[in-house]
């Protein structure tokens, strides 16, 4: 993370006055969008300064929707090399920017107008906030003189977004607005990443200025601790050396902090089994012998056994969400916890940290690696973990004459794609099958809505991921019928931009996770979860201009998967799966992770 920050700040010293524009550009560290030979024209309006700030930060893509109050910014964007992708709905813009940030590691940018534009962005902003994804939202606002008068399309965007942003700013001055954007950009990616927002009144963006924005730089009051306290590192190292039943628990922070390498090295050197959280998927290769895969509500049985019985847990970049911990009383009840996090507020928030290590994940895991002199003697424990892996293996029955099992489709897609393929999902049963039955081996290949659990995330996220991913990385959206229906207008965008995305709708004509809970906890009363009125998604895709495929039985799977992946452009597979298929293992909400149910009658 420190490297990222450094890469966007080298020119900050040169931005002190407006005469150094040329130096700024030539001093650029090779950001892809800049062309060192052309001298940019000086800014004349606040809006041009906003766009200049984005260009200076190396922004290549932005996602958004036009509108009255944001028009000056779009006018300035017209002359910029930044490629703008017009979305069909602002919610799609914020999810796409979020996914762009996850896959690329650089803040994704989304734009919307005031009022409804801004409020439509909010779900995506809240999603990015819960998952600590770097993102910047720019919203239009009514002219300053109308602010507070309930003017047309006015919303108190700052008030609405304060609880769901890392920071937000109401711009008041055309001379300062570009710098506000630069600061927001820097802040989004620095330390614990998160979404930032700048609210842009129309008179400020229309206002005259000749001030070039300052370079991306976080405010002085924002300080990040990079290295953990050496004494606690030493104590934690001693604990690791003496552990009999150690595990590493890798969270989303490992991926955001580019700490996968460091964690892999530490785990393999000391032969420590590794469990991930859902956002931590991809931080450790799931085909490795030490991998115990995902823990928590729908984690694997072996991961939950390892979490429950360990005596030392090295938790990196996780906030101990309740979907991971289950009931606090029974979470790793014998374990001393070494907690690495860049955000001091995560230490002992949900689970008490016996060894709090505040700092950058990669740096601190390296510090810990240097401090550990001897690997723990845990041969018996590792054998136990392997035993659990075979006892609780993820298996399913797939009789040919029954409806298609969703797990089979997920595995078929995994086998047909490369290790670097990016998976995005909506939220629901399909998301859990995508976690459980796809073998992830690389960071930044798993893009999902974890903390907020936003249905409808999958397709717009696939658009953002497609833009950020390399050309040879396939982008597969595994969606549910209910989830897909929420944001499928994004198909029009995928068709217009000819984005090579494969959407697989695991269609059971239910809002399946709710139905599963209703069967388990509400006596099978399917209140409002029966989605028997679903459209035919393959035909709908064709109506949008995408390619449509359909799976009705096992014989269709191989062809549909092969052809959809081969199609150069957006394709949608409407996969009719076993409508009664449920997600197991399952730890009921607030339950004991070690007591996961393998079937409904164990709940």
């Amino acid at each position: 993370m420190s490297e990222r920050a450094a890469s966007v700040t080298p020119t900050e010293e040169q931005h002190d006055d407006q005469t150094t524009t040329d130096a700024d550009e030539s001093g650029d560290d090779g950001a892809a969008s800049s062309d060192a030979e052309t001298t940019p024209t000086p800014v004349t309006t606040g809006a041009e300064s906003v766009i200049r700030a984005l260009e200076n930060a190396g922004v290549e893509y932005a996602f958004g929707v036009q509108g009255g109050a944001i028009m000056p910014v779009y006018d300035a964007l017209y002359d910029s090399d930044i490629y703008h992708i017009t979305m069909a709905h602002e919610q799609g813009a914020s999810h796409a920017a979020d996914a762009y940030g996850i896959v690329s590691g650089e803040p994704g940018v989304c734009l919307a107008t005031s009022g409804p534009g801004a409020t439509n962005l909010v779900t995506g902003i809240a999603d990015a906030d819960m998952d600590s994804d770097p993102m910047i939202a720019l919203t239009g606002q009514v002219p300053t003189e109308f602010v507070g008068n309930d003017a047309f399309q006015e919303t108190d965007t700052i008030g609405v977004t304060t609880p769901v942003t890392k920071d937000n700013t109401f711009s008041t001055d055309p001379d300062r607005v570009g710098t506000d954007v630069s600061e927001a950009f820097a802040l989004a990616g620095e330390g614990r990443p998160g979404p930032t927002l700048v609210d842009l009144p129309k008179d400020v963006t229309n206002g005259e200025t000749d001030r070039e924005p300052d370079g991306p730089r976080v405010p002085d009051t924002y300080e990040v601790q990079e290295r953990a306290d050496a004494e606690i590192v030493a104590a934690a190292a001693e604990r690791v050396e003496n552990a009999a039943r150690p595990i590493m628990l890798l969270g989303g922070g490992v991926i955001k902090g580019e700490a996968s390498e460091a964690c892999r090295a530490f785990a393999t050197e000391h032969e420590i089994p590794v469990v991930t959280t859902m956002p931590g998927i991809g931080s450790f290769p799931e085909d490795h012998e030490l991998a115990m895969e995902m823990a928590g509500m729908h984690g694997t049985g072996f991961a939950n056994m390892a979490v429950t019985h360990c005596d030392t847990m090295i938790a990196v970049g996780t906030r101990f969400d309740d979907r991971l911990t289950g009931g606090i009383e029974t979470f790793a009840p014998d374990a001393e916890i070494i907690h690495v996090d860049i955000d001091p507020a995560e230490i002992s928030k949900n689970i008490h940290a016996d060894y709090p290590l505040v700092g950058d994940a990669a740096t601190v895991v390296d510090q810990l690696g240097e401090a550990v002199d001897a690997s723990p003697e845990a041969k018996k424990w590792r054998a136990q973990c392997q035993q659990w892996k075979s006892d609780y293996s993820m298996a399913y029955d797939a009789p040919e004459d029954e409806p298609v099992r969703p797990e089979f489709i997920v595995e078929a897609l995994d086998e047909a794609t490369s290790d670097r393929a990016v998976v995005t999902t909506g939220v629901g049963q399909h998301q859990m099958w995508a976690c459980q039955y796809w073998t992830y081996t690389e960071p930044r290949t798993w893009v999902s809505s974890h903390g907020l659990g936003t249905m409808g995330y999958g397709l717009p996220a696939a658009i953002g991921a497609r833009v950020a991913a390399a050309d040879d990385q396939e982008v597969v959206c595994i969606d549910g019928d209910g989830s897909f229906l929420m944001t499928l207008q994004g198909l029009s965008v995928a068709v217009r931009e000819n984005l090579d995305i494969t959407v697989v709708v695991l269609n059971n004509e239910y809002i399946g996770m709710v139905r599963q809970w209703q069967d388990a906890f509400f006596e099978g009363r399917h209140s409002a979860s029966d989605y028997g009125w679903m459209p035919e998604f393959d035909k709908l895709a064709e109506a949008f201009g995408a390619q449509g495929f359909r799976i009705d039985d096992y014989d269709d799977v191989a062809d549909a998967v092969t052809e959809a992946l081969a199609y150069d452009g957006p394709s949608v597979i409407d996969a009719h799966i076993d409508p009664q298929a449920n997600v197991y293992p399952m730890v009921p909400s607030g339950g004991d992770n070690g007591q996961f149910a393998l079937t409904e009658d164990q709940l």
Binding site: I158, G159, T162, P163, K166, D167, F170, L187, P219, T221, Y222, Q225, A228, D229, I232, G301, M305, T308, H309, F320, I328, E329, T330, F331, P333, D334, A335, E336, D343, P344, A345, I347, S348, K349, N350, I351, H352, A353, D354, P356, L357, V358, D391, Y392, S393, M394, A395, Y396, D397, N582, Y584, P585, D592, G594, Q595, F596, A597, L598, T599, Q602
Partner: protein, 223 residues
């Protein structure tokens, strides 16, 4: 209907004996440490900009921390303001409040004041003045200043620690109180100790340390 996933069912699995309490701290179920709430004063130095008070107070309501009182005012620097909060929470909650406040970008420093810090609040008390001599005597007793008097009422200004104001109000009660208006607590550290300074330990806070040794700080009394 067999569904594939196998392995011993829940009742046949080993279960560890250990437990954690609600704060996620490993406990000996025999001697569980208690977390009594304590009242404390937190002083927050912030950038003096619009929205900062809403941001700080919004954080409290969102995270379900109860604010006993909140005051805000300017400092010697034009671009800085000081927020003084009184909260009553168990130690881990107080700790979390401080950490969450520190995360806000316009927050410059957060400090929990020592129990000997100077704390003051102000109250205006309007009482019936049928017995002016006795009212004056009570006012004298609490160093209350008369700010208004009429044939029917007398209004006093009382400053001091919370307990003193509570006591004064109780005593004035015998004459019949018409109205009261109270401010929250404002506070400064004693001597050369700087109120605006940073809390020395950010990684391991006092509550973290106390949790580990199962010791909890005594509730300090207001001066």
């Amino acid at each position: 209907m067999k569904r594939g996933l196998e392995g011993p069912p829940p009742e046949e699995r080993p279960t560890p004996a250990g437990r954690r309490n609600k704060q996620g701290i490993r406990i000996d179920p025999e001697i569980e440490a208690t977390h009594d709430p304590r009242r404390t004063v937190i002083s927050v130095l912030v950038e003096h900009e619009p929205g900062v008070l809403a941001e700080a107070s919004g954080l409290f309501s969102r995270r379900q921390f109860n604010i006993e009182s909140l005051t805000v005012g300017p400092t010697t620097a034009d671009d800085r303001a000081r927020i003084t909060l009184v909260v009553e929470e168990p130690d881990p909650g107080i700790d979390q409040i401080k950490k969450q406040l520190r995360k806000l970008v316009p927050v410059i420093s957060v400090r929990e004041l020592a129990s000997d810090a100077m704390r003051r609040e102000l109250a205006l008390v309007k009482v019936d003045a049928e017995r002016p001599d006795q009212v004056a005597a009570v006012a004298d007793m609490y160093d209350a200043k008369t700010v208004d008097s009429s044939p029917e009422t007398a209004t006093f200004e009382i400053t001091g620690a919370r307990q003193k104001i509570d006591a004064a109000i109780e005593t004035f009660g015998q004459f019949g109180i018409r109205e009261i208006s109270r401010t929250g607590t404002t506070a400064l550290a004693r001597g050369t100790d700087e109120t605006a300074g940073r809390d020395p330990a950010t990684a391991v806070s006092s509550a973290d340390a106390a949790n580990q040794s199962h010791e909890y700080t005594q509730t300090p009394t207001d001066d």
